[in-house]
């Protein structure tokens, strides 16, 4: 079924009509992106089920290219007049007002199967069942320890229907599920108060909370982090060896490498990597890829937001830059293949190259051996996010960690920002564990004002020297 056909009686004839308007001023490519999104959220705090929300979003984005210039118009009124008006807005980028071009006849295109587990979709489950899962996380967190003074558990599920049609004849649809359960805890002891967080979910259904981490486990993890931080010392300040925990530290790979191999920064030559294809930028242990096809993962999709079938894309092979994440525009300008990484937050946004699920491949080392190799250093365990600029300077924020003393994990420490320049850090990755794991399935990446769901992963990693920005 296609929601735009069933509910709005839209089909190839209507799409071709709007594409015709979009090309009426001489643009050389036109594309329609229809989106319907339905979203449910639940909030539990103060021991009560406080509120629920449901929202619906519907719209069309029309894109026209004239050379390397993009015109974009959008509307959330899908009447024929409004759709044509959005197409005319997009067409206005063809300022010279050339001759109208014809669009190719639309032919149904391909998307991947097996990406989403649709057996128990959250969007169709009864609210009462979802509330039970939220309560399970809440109760487990609240009961974890007497120090837990506040708990907040939240739920979001959504389903996003998209249909993409373009003037090259591509017509493809996708129905993308998503579910996320999060729990936040505040622990208090004397005058000290600390925060803990955990969550889970993915592009899957309610069954994920029975199969993978249960709501109770998520609640306990949040509580455990908050309670542990009550006893934590300030993180150290200065340069030292850093060991990054498997899974959570994938955010470093996302920031330090992923963004700088998004092809728009290469087209604009603003990325420090733009002229480094085929060059060594890291140690032999650094093999990095982005895979939008991992089943049920938060960053995955069966087709990207420009109608391209995505593929697992190698970015760095044994320390050497080997690939880019492309969208249609950058692939065309740079003469590179489409990798299926053209994504957008919603129909109001122009697609740009984005990551999906980014990871550093497993290495040869035993994680225990990695920690044992550090005489004095910092073990970064839980993260709250990161940021990078095109010059390659990046940070990421550690919410909880431990000191490493004489090859052993010792005292817990709290909040620190780690900073570095990507090439320096990639060259200093001197050990990589055999324990590749992915993050919590709660991540969101922001770029140019657009937020998209992502996931990232890595094995236990040792960086021989890095600046740790703690307070002591």
């Amino acid at each position: 079924m296609n929601i735009f056909k069933d509910r709005l009686s839209l089909g190839p004839a209507e799409y071709e009509d709007v594409l015709g308007v979009a090309l009426s001023r001489g643009g050389d490519f036109a594309e329609l992106f229809f989106e319907y999104r339905s979203h449910t959220s639940i909030l539990m705090e103060e021991d009560i089920l406080k509120e629920t929300a449901e929202s619906v979003s519907l719209g069309l984005g029309v894109r026209v290219w004239s050379g390397e210039q993009t015109g974009y118009g959008y509307t959330n009124d899908l009447s024929p007049e409004r759709m044509r008006k959005a197409a005319r807005s997009a067409a206005s980028v063809a300022l010279a007002g050339g001759e109208a071009k014809r669009s190719s006849a639309l032919v149904p295109g391909r998307s991947l199967s097996g990406i989403y587990d649709q057996t128990d979709p959250a969007s169709r489950a009864d609210l009462v069942r979802k509330i039970e899962l939220v309560r399970e996380a809440y109760d487990a967190c609240r009961a974890f320890a007497p120090e837990i003074v506040k708990t907040k558990a939240g739920w979001v599920d959504l389903v996003q229907h998209v249909t993409i049609a373009n003037s090259e004849g591509c017509l493809v649809s996708d129905v993308r599920p998503m579910v996320k359960l999060t729990c936040a805890a505040i622990a208090e002891k004397g005058t000290v108060r600390e925060y803990g967080f955990s969550g889970g979910g993915g592009r899957t259904g309610l069954n994920v909370f029975a199969a993978a981490r249960t709501p109770a486990a998520i609640g306990r993890e949040a509580a455990e982090e908050a309670v542990r931080l009550l006893e934590a010392e300030d993180a150290p300040a200065g340069e030292m060896p850093v060991v990054l925990a498997a899974g959570h530290a994938g955010v470093l790979i996302h920031e330090a490498v992923g963004h700088l191999l998004e092809a728009d920064f290469h087209r604009k030559k603003t990325s420090i990597f733009w002229n480094k294809m085929g060059e060594r930028v890291g140690s032999d242990l650094v093999t990095i890829a982005d895979d939008p096809t991992i089943p049920a993962s938060r960053g995955s999709y069966a087709v990207d937001d420009e109608g391209t079938v995505p593929r697992n894309t190698r970015l760095i092979e044994k320390g050497v830059v080997s690939g880019l994440l492309t969208d249609r525009l950058s692939a065309r300008i740079l003469g590179r293949d489409l990798t299926g990484h053209g994504r957008r937050q919603d129909y109001t946004d122009i697609p740009i190259p984005r990551m999906a699920n980014t990871y550093l491949a497993a290495g040869p080392h035993d994680p225990a051996e990695i920690i044992a190799s550090v005489e004095k250093g910092f073990y970064a365990e839980r993260f709250t996010g990161g940021q990078v600029e095109d010059s390659g300077k990046f940070t990421f924020s550690v919410s909880a960690g431990r000191l490493i003393e004489n090859g052993r994990l010792t005292r817990p420490v709290k909040q620190a920002t780690l900073i570095g320049t990507n090439v320096d850090i990639l060259n200093r990755i001197c050990m990589a564990g055999d324990d590749l794991a992915f993050g919590l399935q709660t991540g969101t990446c922001g770029k140019e004002g657009q937020d998209v769901p992502v996931n990232d992963g890595c094995p236990t990693l040792k960086v021989s020297m890095m600046t740790v920005g703690g307070r002591s």
């Binding site: 103060e46 009560i48 600390e194 300040a237 603003t270 420090i272 940021q387």
Partner: protein, 449 residues
Amino acid sequence: MNAPLPSGGLKELVEKTVRLSLACGAEEVEVGVSDSVEFGVDVRMGEIENLVEAGTRSMGIRIIKDHRTAYAGTSDLSTDTIERLIRGAVRRAELAHPDPCSGLPEPPASPIDPSSLDLYDPAVSALDPRTKIAMAMETERIALTDHRIGNSHGASCDTHEGCSILANSRGFQGEYRKTFIGLNVGLQAGETDDLAEDFWFSSKIHLADLASPEEIARKAVARTVRLLNPRKVQTQRVPVIFDPQMTAGLLGFLFSCLTGTAVYQKATFLAGRLGRRICPETLTVVDDGLLPRGLGSSPFDSEGVPSQRTAVIENGILKTYLCNTYAGRKIGLPSTGNADGGGVGPGNFYLSAGSFTPEEIIRSTPRGLYLVRTLGHGLNPVSGDLSRGAFGLWIESGELAYPVSEITISGNLGEMLKGVEMIGDDLDFFGSVCGPTLKIAEMQIAGRS
């Protein structure tokens, strides 16, 4: 699903939705609609890169039944969808727990006249797209005439014109229009792998208040090239001077620690500090939602409470928390007219200007960091801990000596507030959260060993 709007327009649709919700079993209901038109152009290296033009509408509904709350929202304003969402919301409200603090605010005794805030500029509305394209082009062109600028992230000109309509079952009805225009440019300098980046912008409600392309370009260039060829300083504790942009960032963090929501959730280190001295008496922080032409101004908040001027910290004393109706009831304070969706948001939240020029503040510092940009998240309202990547200029003997990068600054907001030594006289309302140059006595810097 895509039926045309009922005749009579959006105001009637809002009122009709209120009536329909009551008929469906809601005891109280609030309905807001926003209708906006936007235009944006990005230019880069002298060419248009993106040209965006669009109009959107959306509706938000809050339903309360037996002190139980449910929300709904939609960008599809067809009668079918609205009715389905209302019925769903009434059912969902029945599944929630009763909360004695829930419920709509009293209708205002004296509403604010929207025209007194001067939030709508017909000149922004009438500005020709070609003029906006030319403004962005000109800004980038001037910046690129400086030979030290090697690459551009592009320049953008954006305009926005919106109408907000709100009504509720307690008889509130309000409506206002607001315009916005923004012009900005982002630059990259440096020829090797050691690149410096920065940007500058102007954002205003009225076209006449907007900085010229020349002024924006010159400032963006100066801010970018001063960061070229940075050094990495040693790990140490020094005074840190925040430039106005950085003060704004710090105030954004302070705001998140001053909301009534954070207080009842115990999610702020400032909970329980009402009436206490939290910083030197030179420090006054105000939230003013009624500033004429203010980017954060509005006649009423998202639940119809009139905006107001609130002294949050006055001469160093914490006077109140910023609240919506719900958070206010939870902690026994009145709403300050800061409802923003389901949460609490700033009006124009600013640190009052002090008496020192920025030059005097720099001259007073034998050695320290003049902070111009941060990178990363690293803010924890629960503890007040702050830790971020930092870019800036190193101060030696009271003068800006050389740029520094790849360092971090860290501290605790509670201690930083107590450590405010000097406040600049250079307050400029460049955003809805802003402040002047600020000197903090001491923070930890991590860099070389």
